[in-house]
């Protein structure tokens, strides 16, 4: 995936001035930045949900705008920030929606159901697959949405704050799953505010600041160069865990 010179403004409010980077299969990128830095906006643009004012996004060498919705969805899955729905859809029905781009028939095939079940197992929501989505707690809902994105079998996963509402165990489970997908050849990009979760699981950190990519560093190098950290808050400091991994502490 290649992002180059992307600019975007909401009316007169310029959010992205010129964002450019490229990422390859196997990477797990953490997209960091302050509130309102434009993290969700650039993620939407990468998913084809918004059109950039200028600049381009290419996937597999092809301009994103030229992709048909269906083809795009077989490549890219985007997890939005929370979905509220009062409709009595069951968990299983929502997860099966992830199979839309793969199914040609009016009813989902046995194969679609198997994919959905595997995704629900992974996100540990199989136990409540027949419950209505709107009766679930925030964390349970988030796991259902994650499962739907996994059932989509994408090559590129763009997740907007995937660990929101999740308990600690589920946060770890979610990020480990993404790590495994990246190791299996997918490209994962997650917007997150949890720096330690990112340092422990991701391969690369991108910090969005003032409409640009202000820092772009592999996680292994992040320990030696703490400049990226000062972009987020002056009260942060890097230490090293006994295992030799970088760890962020607060002052």
């Amino acid at each position: 995936m290649e992002v180059s010179g992307v600019a975007f403004a909401y009316g007169s409010n310029v959010v992205l001035k010129s964002v450019g980077f490229s990422a390859n299969p196997g990477e797990f990128v953490a997209l960091l930045g302050l509130n309102g830095a434009g993290k969700s906006t650039i993620l939407d643009i990468m998913a084809g949900l918004r059109t950039a004012d200028s600049g381009s996004v290419r996937i597999d060498g092809r301009e994103l705008k030229q992709w048909q919705a269906r083809d795009r969805a077989r490549w890219i899955s985007h997890l939005p920030q929370g979905i509220r729905s009062e409709l009595p859809f069951t968990v299983e029905q929502i997860v099966l929606m992830g199979r839309y781009a793969h199914a040609d028939q009016w009813f989902e095939s046995e194969e679609d159901v198997q994919h959905a079940v595997r995704a629900m197992e992974r996100m540990q929501c199989l136990a409540y697959r027949h419950r209505s989505y709107y009766t679930l707690s925030g964390g349970e809902r988030q796991r259902v949405l994650l499962a739907a994105c996994l059932a989509q079998e994408p090559k590129v996963l763009l997740f907007d704050e995937p660990s929101t509402y999740l308990d600690v165990q589920q946060q770890l489970q979610c990020f480990s799953t993404l790590t495994k997908l990246a190791e299996a050849g997918a490209l994962c990009v997650a917007v997150t505010h949890d720096l330690n979760l990112a340092l422990a699981h991701c391969t690369r950190l991108l910090v969005l600041h003032d409409g640009h990519i202000a820092a772009d560093t592999p996680v292994l190098g992040a320990a030696h160069d703490a400049a990226w950290l000062s972009l987020l808050s002056p009260r942060l400091r890097l230490v090293e865990t006994p295992e030799g991994r970088p760890w962020v502490v607060y002052r």
Partner: protein, 329 residues
Amino acid sequence: MKAPQSSASSFGWISGCAVLFILAAVILPLIGPTGIDMQRVFAKLAPDYGIFVELRITRVLLGLLAGGALALGGGLFQAMLRDSLATPYTLGVSAGAALGAVLVLALDLERILGFPALWLGSMVGAGAVLAMVAGASWRGGHISGVRLLLTGISLNSICSAFILLIYGVVRERRSFSITQWLLGRVDSVSYTALFVFAVAVTLTCAILLRQARAWNLIAIGETWAASRGVDLQRVMLTGYVCGSVLTAGAIALTGPIGFVGLIVPHLVRSRISPDNRLLLPCSFLLGGVMLAACDAIGRVVLAPAELPAGAVMAVIGGPYLVWVVRRRF
């Protein structure tokens, strides 16, 4: 907790509703202020034959088709806008159709270019309002649901105001026919009108049902749908066109009977399934049964006077919907 929807149970629900629909088509023509002797009908003897074939059957068929069209339109708009209040009413489409029809009634036009003027009037009215509402809510390459709803409700009020204005300036005889029409009634129509309407309804239903899975995703959220592979622009545009054809057609023939578009999809959603593959066909079938049944009730309760189907629907359906909402939410 709900059992998983398998294709077998879906088929069961749809065929159950279809059986009700067919039963209604067979039984309801027999109900009315005067008894019908079927032997006289088969022998083509007056007056039974005339009443049955010319009046009752067309009336029941119109009720079934118009009720189905309005309920399907309601279910569709609720999925499109993710708003349980969205109906052809709240979008102003009904009011636009009504204004067009009232204008035609006020000018005492019979036919325009060979078409029944009332049809043309309401079609043009519905189309114009829909274009205005969609135009006003179009920004940045997509249509915003909130803006659409607010514009729709505003245009609804504007159209209602113009209807009152026209009502005030026309002479008494015409104002009576306008009142009659605005009450919303199912009346006998020609077989030609029924045929044209039936073709339009069948076509739009076929198109909408093909997209039923996409409507499920859109009912959850537009970005949710787009990121799962739904071609949002194309599907939404089809929805607007099909929804307004259904609504305008039904309203042109029956007058503004709106409640069926709100109540039936809600009942189906809470009782059968929110899945549009079931919701849309079941809403169509049950909406038709409901309107035709209300019309049959209206024919007999105050006989020889007739109660408009819209009024019967409101009296029976209103309390039931309140009860359902209280239990479910």
